[in-house]
Point group: C2
Chain length 201, copies 2
Amino acid sequence: MQADQAKTLLEDVRRAVKLTAEEEAMLLSKLRSRTYLKGQYIVQEGDIVRFQTYLVSGKVRTFYLDREGNEHIVSFGIEHWWVGDLCSFASQIPADFNAQCLEKTEVLQLSYADTEQLYEELPKIERFFLLLLQRAYIKSQKRIVRNHSLTARERYELFLTEHPEMVERFPQYMIASYLGVTKEFLSSIRRQIADEEKKLN
Amino acid sequence: MQADQAKTLLEDVRRAVKLTAEEEAMLLSKLRSRTYLKGQYIVQEGDIVRFQTYLVSGKVRTFYLDREGNEHIVSFGIEHWWVGDLCSFASQIPADFNAQCLEKTEVLQLSYADTEQLYEELPKIERFFLLLLQRAYIKSQKRIVRNHSLTARERYELFLTEHPEMVERFPQYMIASYLGVTKEFLSSIRRQIADEEKKLN
DNA sequence: CGTCTATTTGAATGTACTCAAAAGCGGTGG
DNA sequence: CCACCGCTTTTGAGTACATTCAAATAGACG
């Protein structure tokens, strides 16, 4: 592991827990660097996920296919996010989800066995992942709540204000899927919004 | 803490991690027992959640109110589930959710400070909560996915097979809310299903 | 410039919601 | 034991939000 690649990861860790230099070195020693090309999969449905994957650069979409073969975006990943299928990784069972890189993507990976070992030797790292998981869970709960109480337009407008970077970097039809609407309907929502803004001037 | 109340909790813990007798005693020493009556709130919106709450008996609904004042059920809790608003507990900020007992409910509670202390002194307990959180997160992800790819009827039928105990113990209008449909529409789904079954005979 | 993919449009359709009212159900008191 | 009350569930008509399908347009990339 070169230290420069792990810089943002270490910053994330330091923000949550305090590690000594040796402990940071131990963490770094377990990380493997890897680069995926545009279109490649970090996880494919049916695989058993062997790694936790941290994004250094690039972008990733996580999606699954329903019975009719329609794609549904579960989440987007960009720099300094962790991606994968936690269900598969945690239980070492075949994944339901796919994680595909939408451009050249550099990652750091931590294997299942090394994760276990780190948890044993370094409870502070366990704490780091607990905090990560807490945040992810809270976001997930919020998303459920919003899907139930907001209209498609409201969800889109909220997404615009909360994740403007995502709007720029991911195609609209994927954002539609993430929000749980068809690409056609999202398009008509955008027209509606644009029309209203025009009327104001 | 009387040991009999903590029996199911200890069983849950033992299933996940191995504790020595002293470690179990340490955990028990932090737990406070409390009984809520029908209609009482474990958490109210606006409160800062000071405890993690484990259900020994009874039942609880967790819900939030949207802008129009409509209730949305976030989750149901029965024996041996943990309830509350993790967002509020973890960050010690005011809760968005309410957790209300629907009958006499006995609980065990672990304060924020004691939780922190346990995490420090007993990493295995931290592991236990990490595993708990993993399961909760995975369920939450599944729920999002299902809300996007299944019809209301399919979600209801899946709920029937996965949580028959819940169907018996919670009123239909709450289940409707949990599934993200109106009580009227769930009623019409049930009629549909009943009609089809009648036709088969 | 042509090809491939993403976005937009519009009409017809469907799934789920709103509102209002009736029916069912369980408990309580006269 | 029945009548009444409050709460839950059912019904039905009208409506709205969102989907499907088909086709046109716009953008991106080699």
